[in-house]
């Protein structure tokens, strides 16, 4: 699948970089040119995303097999052939997607597109803004398409700095604090990930043939070709094969304390991103201070990177540790759910409330994932998508009102329902979706997450399900405080949404409703992948892992 000799995944990932270069070359004054460049790039990404969606083979599973991955691109990137004592360092530029990542790629393309539109009224140093924005876009996309851990890590980190600046320069009054908090938190997580990655690297051996193809040890045992060489690897898929672990290496074996430690390090890295209680406190600050489009990106895509990381890396590579800590994981998910909901309830700042609701909603994802069965995983991945669209809507909604009223105090509003009917319509869809109303996409994912989790952890799920009451409580309460009741005198002049705002919210709203009624198109994408993943998690290591050591 190539366009002009370059694979489609590379296109979708690096288009923003191209856009960034264009933006940097444009003169500062041509603000509309800058905006349109970004928009065109984002739109092209959506087009490519649509293309991926159509051409994606629903029957391939992916997860831990290369043959199951699609749109593969694989080139040798770094290849240091040298001394015996280090071995050959071979890092691949390895892109590919399966059912989990394709959903995230679509989400990223979509949310980026929306966020560009929502950036239209940003005036301050527009050039820098879009340059950073597009770099961020590449980072996010890259995380979801890379299958090489090293590459994954690079993309993961590439996204940090633009985010820091986007919050720090274009944010609210306490932007510096929020930005540095975000940066430090995330970096703390990622250095731990780095260590785990290195530990994995030195634990996994594969054979490389002269053409650069990798072969698992099992394959090599069946019949080694000429000039095959044993190397360590960053290849995630190789890491998922327990047979590739070097006996006696750091992470070899099953249920060893080192494996738990590495899993824990990865977990913290991802948990900070999700964020899972108690690593969540950067989120409210970052959200509150970030400008609207960045909040949208943050909630819509960035948080997903955490859960995606768990699904893509932690679970398949450490199924044993995952199983061992599944209950704890579920517990944290439940705490996030209930805690996030309760704290949200006590907020008076609109944006902060939504930020905490994100904690709660992402908790559902975590709970669903911890279930280790298809229903729960499906719910979780679908919830990732839905939370992306729904929370993006919610933040856009806050942005709309903030642009007009310059305040986000929940208690300062009221009665906007009549004043801004279109706005009210969008808001109704978003809020009802957030509280899990059937017919809207959030419901299905929450339902399956909980149903799946219930199979594995009855008591925890029951506790977690309390949030369906709490969420209804605070969401409707917000609705009441902002939209119902009499309209305060000072807001008599608020205008309804303009065409641009309506377009964004309508697009997302339609998606939310469509997938709420008929989720099959998106569930079909991930189904076989998640079945495979569930099987991997349930049955864990194939015989090679237990007997080979």
């Amino acid at each position: 699948m190539e366009i002009a000799g370059i694979g489609i995944l590379s296109w979708i990932t690096f288009l923003p970089v191209v856009g960034m270069v264009v933006v940097l070359m444009l003169p500062k004054e041509k603000k509309d040119w800058l905006r349109w460049t970004a928009l065109v790039v984002a739109a092209l990404q959506v087009v490519l995303g649509a293309f991926l969606f159509m051409r994606f083979d629903r029957s391939l599973a992916g997860i831990n097999t290369e043959s199951g991955m699609q749109f593969l691109e694989k080139f040798s990137w770094i290849d240091v052939r040298s001394v015996s004592w280090f071995g050959r360092l071979h890092i691949e530029y390895f892109l590919g997607i399966d059912g989990i990542s394709v959903v995230m790629v679509l989400l990223t393309a979509l949310i980026s597109f929306i966020a560009v539109i929502s950036s239209w009224n940003i005036e301050k140093s527009l050039k820098g803004y879009f340059a950073l924005f597009l770099l961020l876009d590449t980072g996010m996309m890259g995380v979801f398409v890379s299958l090489d851990f090293f590459l994954f890590y690079v993309f993961w980190e590439v996204m940090l700095l633009p985010m820091y600046f986007l919050i720090g320069v274009w944010g609210g009054p306490r932007r510096e604090y929020a930005a540095i908090k975000f940066f430090l938190y995330t970096l703390l997580g990622s250095v731990l990930m780095l260590l785990a990655m290195i530990a994995l690297y030195f634990s996994v051996n594969v054979y490389i043939d002269p053409a650069g193809g990798l072969h698992s040890l099992a394959e090599a045992a069946r019949g080694m070709g000429q000039g095959w060489e044993k190397i360590y690897t960053f290849n995630m898929l190789a890491m998922m094969d327990p047979g590739n672990f070097v006996p006696g290496s750091l992470l070899a074996g099953v249920d060893t304390s080192m494996r738990y430690l590495a899993y824990g390090a990865l977990f913290i890295a991802f948990a900070i991103k999700v964020p899972i209680f108690p690593f969540h406190t950067w989120l409210p600050d970052a959200h509150v201070e970030a400008p609207t489009p960045i909040s949208v990106i943050l909630a819509g895509v960035l948080l997903k990177m955490g859960t995606y990381g768990l699904l893509r890396i932690s679970f398949p590579i450490f199924p044993d540790a995952m199983r061992h800590f599944a209950w704890e994981l579920a517990l944290l998910g439940v705490i996030s759910m209930v805690y996030g909901a309760l704290v949200a309830m006590a907020q008076t700042d609109f944006k902060k409330l939504i930020a905490y609701s994100s904690v709660s909603h992402m908790g559902i994802v975590v709970l669903g994932m911890s279930s280790m069965n298809t229903q729960g995983l499906t719910g979780a991945v679908f919830q990732m998508f839905n939370h992306g669209t729904i929370t993006a809507m919610l933040f856009l909604i806050v942005g709309v009102i903030y642009d007009r009223a310059h305040t986000r105090g929940l208690n300062e509003f009221g009665g906007l329902m009549n004043q801004m009917p279109r706005y009210a319509g969008a808001m109704t869809v978003a809020f009802f979706a957030a509280l899990g109303l059937p017919g809207l996409s959030g419901f299905i994912s929450e339902m399956f997450s909980l149903l799946g989790a219930f199979q594995t952890f009855q008591t925890l799920t029951i506790i977690g399900a309390v949030t369906i009451v709490l969420t209804a409580g605070y969401m409707l309460w917000v609705l009441q405080r902002v939209f119902l009741g009499p309209l305060p005198e000072k807001w008599k002049d608020l205008t309804d949404m303009n065409g641009r705002e309506t377009f964004m919210l309508a697009t997302l709203g339609i998606i939310v409703i469509f997938f709420g009624i008929y989720p099959a198109p998106i569930l079909n994408l991930m189904n076989s992948s998640l079945n495979t993943l569930a099987a991997l998690l349930q049955h864990g290591a194939p015989a090679a892992m237990t007997s080979g050591m």
């Binding site: 908090k181 430090l184 938190y185 703390l188 209680f277 969540h280 406190t281 950067w282 600050d285 805690y339 309760l342 704290v343 949200a344 309830m345 006590a346 907020q347 069965n373 298809t374 229903q375 499906t378 009665g415 329902m417 009549n418 009802f432 899990g436 109303l437 059937p438 017919g439 419901f443 339902m447 909980l450 149903l451 219930f454 799920t461 029951i462 399900a465 309390v466 369906i468 009451v469 709490l470 209804a472 409580g473 605070y474 409707l476 309460w477 009441q480 939209f483 119902l484 009741g485 009499p486 989720p519 099959a520 079909n524 189904n527 076989s528 079945n531 569930a534 099987a535 349930q538 049955h539």
Partner: protein
């Protein structure tokens, strides 16, 4: 008519209101007359189709269950389970067919009534749109053959209820009531959901018939009898919420903040009956213990609500509590095993209670106009103490109201007599079978109470003298669009539509169409079978009828004695029993209790956690932070000091150490030299020890 045709028509019944909703929500305002005709005709068409379906079903496929399924989500080959599909679909049995007609009928009448009642409302088209959505959602519940769709419809009717209760959201009380309704319902749904989760986990399907088959095959949740009962009770929780059963009944009276036709449709006839319908649907999986719980919950609800109704003065509140009480009746009936009677009462109650609400709506409408005319904004148009003597001014309303009242009180020749009588007989039979005599006792007591408070309502509203002669002159009978529905409902409150035999001894067509389904639970857990139950029922039927007639008569007599003939002074009684009266007037203090315990508890917890989040989780720094910064409290700028993070904490710590360490950098090189030498010696001694 072929099966497929029948199902297609049923599907059309389902989709017509949805189509109306879609058009109305987007284009309603731009249509002529804001599209009320569109909604009304859509639902009327649905009614006709529903009638066809009912006829076709009863005549052609009396004993069959027709189903239409489609695969909604295909999980393919799920590890550990094999192929898993989420199959959704609709099923058409007699119960469904009847419900279809009931729902569309009431809905059509309410639409009609609303044209008059809601005329001139600022959100007129929106109102009709929501009615359409509600009808659709309710039909989803009715038609669903699986728990998933049931739950979907369940939530959707909840949200419609929310939207419609909050229709006049400028009033804080209205939006509060809307939130309360939804959230309280969600509490019930929580149990419902867990119940579904248990069943799904056990059977990996949402389909009711498959679940029944599974249980019949001896496959129990967690392999335990107890869990079967629990899942039944949990599913029943949904009904507790939706049908406003004790202890979640508190939302329904508040829901009267919505427009009266909405109360009639949603909060009297259909949605609240969905709980009853749910229990009926799930009857086969209920164990004897679960049924007992259900019966008791129903009885308690019926009793509490009836007592409260006596002391209420708001016309709609009285009706609301009456609804709760009657719903308790139905639930109790189902719990007792009087399946058919319970369902039958659902149908008849739908007619006369909708009628009562619409009648009250007519009264309120008239009162409202009169007060408006008199430029009186103080007087409550819904307070029955401000009414009286409306009979002459509103004859149609009055006479239909009387019919409805007779029906609810169970006076012979009305539909209510038929259904209520059967319920009481059923409870009596249950009492004699199981020894739980409190159930029938409550049943009879509540029957008496019902007659009493309903007649109290009629007398205070329509009979006697009006309080304000000036005002009464401005009271007028409502227009045809409002009275017509009343007349229709009044007609439908007569026995003849349900059974040719007014005595109730020969079962009517509904009773024949709807038979108690076989229980699927293992025999050791099941309630006495239908056959056994019927037999006992036959023995006690006459007794029950006589008893019910006498208590109803007593109730009526008491009402007349107190409020019409004034032989007994209501005030004196109230004074004599002041604590009881206050207790009843304040609805057993449920709201206060919930406010104090649940609402404040949750909000308090939320506030506490917010505090914890900013202080402990996010602000572990502050213990230390305060020491250094001194007087965070005094400064009043609490937040600036408070909102720091764990990151700040570690940053603080590292900063602190940095601060201390940099003090070593004195600028005096000789000190550095000394440190270096000291360093050497320290290293030496440390490693010497190691």
């Amino acid at each position: 008519m072929a099966q497929d045709t029948l199902l297609t028509v049923a599907l059309a019944v389902l989709l017509l209101p949805l189509a109306a909703f879609t058009v109305m929500i987007f284009a309603g305002k731009r249509l002529p007359r804001q599209g009320d005709w569109l909604s009304t005709s859509a639902i009327a068409a649905a009614l006709i189709l529903a009638g066809t379906v009912l006829y076709g079903k009863l005549t052609l496929y009396h004993a069959d269950t027709l189903a239409l399924n489609f695969t909604w989500i295909d999980f393919h080959d799920v590890p550990g389970l094999g192929p898993l599909r989420i199959v959704l679909g609709i099923a058409l049995d007699n119960l469904t067919a009847i419900m279809l007609v009931v729902v569309t009928l009431i809905s059509t009448l309410v639409h009609l009534f609303s044209i008059g009642y809601m005329g001139g409302d600022i959100r007129y088209s929106r109102y009709f749109a929501y009615l359409g959505l509600f009808s659709f959602s309710m039909l989803v519940i009715v038609l669903a053959n699986n728990l998933f769709l049931l739950y979907v419809g369940w939530e959707l009717v909840g949200i419609c209820s929310y939207l419609l209760i909050g229709h006049w959201y400028e009033k804080k009380s209205a939006s509060n009531a809307a939130i309360k309704a939804f959230v309280v319902n969600r509490v019930g749904d929580f149990g419902f959901f867990v119940g579904i989760a248990i069943l799904f986990m056990t059977f990996h399907t949402f389909s009711l018939s498959e679940i029944f088959d599974g249980i019949r095959g001896g496959h129990l949740p967690f392999g335990s009898d107890w869990w079967l009962t629990v899942s039944g009770v949990l599913l029943f929780c949904g009904a507790v919420g939706k049908s406003a059963q004790f202890p979640l009944h508190v939302w329904l009276p508040d829901a009267m903040e919505g427009p009266t036709p909405v109360s009639a449709l949603i909060h009297a006839a259909t949605m609240v009956a969905a709980g009853v319908y749910l229990v009926a649907r799930l009857f086969p999986i209920m164990t004897a213990d679960a049924l007992l719980v259900i019966a008791y919950i129903g009885a308690i609800t019926a009793f509490i609500a009836a007592t409260i109704a006596i002391a209420q003065n708001d016309i709609k509140k009285v009706l609301a509590y009456s609804t709760i009480s009657q719903l308790g009746y139905m639930i109790m009936a189902l719990g007792a095993g009087a399946y058919t009677a319970g369902f039958f009462h659902l149908v008849t109650h739908a007619m006369f209670k909708a009628g009562l609400f619409l009648g009250s709506g007519s009264v309120i409408h008239a009162m409202h106009n009169a007060l408006h005319h008199a430029d009186d904004h103080e007087t409550d148009p819904q307070d029955i103490r401000n009414m009286g003597g409306l009979r002459a001014k509103m004859p149609v309303t009055f006479w239909t109201f009387v019919v409805f009242t007779l029906a609810i009180s169970g006076v012979p020749l009305t539909s209510g007599f038929l259904s209520k009588d059967e319920i009481l007989a059923g409870t009596l039979a249950f009492g004699s079978l199981t020894g739980h005599v409190i159930i029938p006792l409550t049943g009879f007591l509540v029957a008496g109470l019902t007659a009493f408070y309903m007649f109290r309502l009629v007398i205070l509203t329509f009979l006697g003298e009006h309080k304000d002669a000036n005002r009464i002159t401005h009271v007028h009978e409502s227009g045809l669009v409002m009275t017509l529905p009343l007349l229709v409902l009044a007609a439908l409150s007569v026995f003849i539509f349900y059974s040719v035999d007014p005595s109730g001894f020969t079962p009517g067509w509904i009773a024949r169409a709807v038979e108690r389904p076989e229980s699927t639970v293992p025999l050791r857990l099941a309630a006495p079978s239908a056959g056994v139950f019927e037999e006992v029922l036959g023995h006690v039927h006459l007794t029950a009828m006589l008893l019910s007639l006498s208590v109803a008569g007593l109730g009526m007599l008491a009402a007349f004695a107190t409020y019409y003939w004034k032989k007994i002074s209501a005030d004196a009684v109230a004074r004599a029993l002041a604590p009881v009266h206050a207790f009843l007037l304040n609805k057993w203090y449920f709201d206060e209790l919930y406010q104090a315990v649940v609402v404040n508890g949750v909000l308090g917890l939320a506030a506490l956690l917010r505090w914890v989040d900013t202080w402990i989780v996010d602000g572990a720094v502050n213990g230390a932070g305060r020491v250094t910064r001194g007087v965070a409290f005094v400064s009043g700028k609490f937040d600036t000091y408070v909102v720091d993070g764990l990151v700040n904490f570690s940053a603080y710590l590292s900063g602190f150490f940095g601060l201390v360490l940099r003090k070593f950098q004195t600028g005096r090189v000789q000190t550095y030299v000394l440190f270096a030498v000291l360093g050497v010696m320290v290293f030496y001694f440390i490693f010497r020890l190691v």
